[in-house]
Amino acid sequence: MNVGPFILVSLVKILLALFVLLTAVAYTVWLERKVVGHIQNRWGPTRVGPFGLLQPMADGVKFLFKEDLTPPHVYKPLYIAAPMIAVIFALTSIAVIPFGDWLDIGPVSTMLQISDVNIGLLIVLGVTSLGVYGIALSGWSSNSKYSLLGGLRASAQMVSYEIALGLSLVGVIILSGSLSLREIVDAQGGHFWGFIPKWNIFYGGQIVAFFIYLMAAYAETNRIPFDLPEAETELVAGYHTEYSAMKFAMFFMAEYANMITVACIASLLFLGGWHGPLGGPPWLQALLQIFWFMARVFVFLFVYIWVRGTLPRFRYDQLMAFGWKFLLPLAIANLVITALVVALRS
């Protein structure tokens, strides 16, 4: 495959992925408002369009046209750069995430993934870990105590939970013996004894790892019950207190994009990626794969929102204690056990 079409296809894929991702972000917000509303026995957005389906658009428009004011005494360059950093790193990680297997359109046969890096997982981790800067810098640069506290909390929290997160993934890496997301998913094809799908979650006690990942992911994305960086009751709005309009929207997008990334990783690593039951012609296969993948991500996001609707917020020391004293040891234990299992089996 020569360079020209390659670049073309890649561009197409990038644009597609970006579009899908952004819409997904927008509609995750909508979904959240809806679901939380129902959990809280409200209707949620209903006015704009059927079921308030156009609500995201309205929000977007509002953000765009709202006055973008920067408070005095902020450290300007960083104040401006911070939200961009946040959103950029949040969106970057989609680049290595596969939505499905190969797709053949006429002559070109391409993989449903912007680029298959054989250390994809590491790339995702690295990029998400860089996401911290956006929040930290915003908190510091906006020169306000709430923001600063929020930023400090966020950076501390994310650095701490990154460890548990990474360790919980190592088990999967050991099982599938690769860092390439694609290979990890391929390793999960097939069934145990014919009927149980061969997902990592059903595999060598990875269910523990899955839950560790779940909680760490919530903390990483600053979501309830770990949303202390933006705890309204204590810090007004945390690190983005001083932000408004598009910059605020960027943080918002960053948060939800991160959620989606995390959901993708979860479904790729633990829930068998795009493997699904139904069969059919190749083109249908490809679409089905995307469908299954989306379904998993959706379920994950739904759980996210569900949790937000139900659980209260941690206290900060509890958060740290939970991360360091419970999750980390548990993750290490799981890692050791998995390693033992693999070693014994081979």
Binding site: Y75, L78, V117, N118, I119, L122, I123, L125, G126, V127, S129, L130, V132, Y133, A136, L137, G139, W140, L148, G151, L152, S155, A156, M158, V159, E162, G166, G177, L179
Partner: protein, 172 residues
């Protein structure tokens, strides 16, 4: 060709970041420029084929260590550094020494490293091979460094733990 272009682009970014680190007077800017340096270094590693090193460079250096730096800067609310003339020695001896040393090094490198060229991805440092090396030949150093890290953690806790009773002014 592409290799050379990429190398020079990110190399320039690298140097720019490094120099920016020097000229910036506010530590947070220095930190950010250092992050830039590290990121572009990661790309250089990728060019050399050391993909795993690159990833770890991003995760550990940019993602962890530098976060720590930024965190501390925020915690201590470090401001612009004041221009005190603390040591003439560093200017009278250090700078010439540094220059002399680097010149010598450069001379040696340029003359002795030959015109041997490395092509892109010369040595694919795939995680598997790295792991093989790390857990077989370098097992002992690996364990030792792990112990080192453990000690470092404990030391950090001990040092940063607020001394009791808290002394109001250190100057006495």
């Amino acid at each position: 060709m592409l290799h050379l272009i990429l190398f020079s682009v990110f190399g320039l970014v690298c140097v720019a970041g490094a120099i920016n680190l020097l000229v910036q007077s506010h530590p947070i800017n220095s930190a950010l420029s250092l992050i830039v340096v590290m990121g572009s270094l990661a790309v250089e590693y990728l060019l050399l084929g050391a993909e795993f090193v690159a990833a770890v460079q991003v995760i550990v250096y940019a993602g962890a260590i530098m976060v720590l730096f930024v965190f501390v800067i925020m915690l201590l609310n470090a401001g612009e550094e004041e221009r005190t003339k603390g040591s003439r020695v560093s200017l009278l001896i250090g700078i010439p020494g540094m220059i002399m040393g680097s010149v010598l090094m450069a001379w040696v490198l340029i003359t002795h490293s030959g015109t041997h060229a490395v092509e892109a991805g010369a040595l694919p440092g795939a995680p598997r091979e790295i792991a093989q090396l790390l857990f077989h030949e370098f097992l002992l150093p690996f364990e030792v460094t792990s112990i080192l890290v453990l000690i470092a953690i404990m030391g950090a806790v001990v040092l940063a733990a607020r001394p009791e009773p808290l002394q109001p002014e250190g100057k006495n």
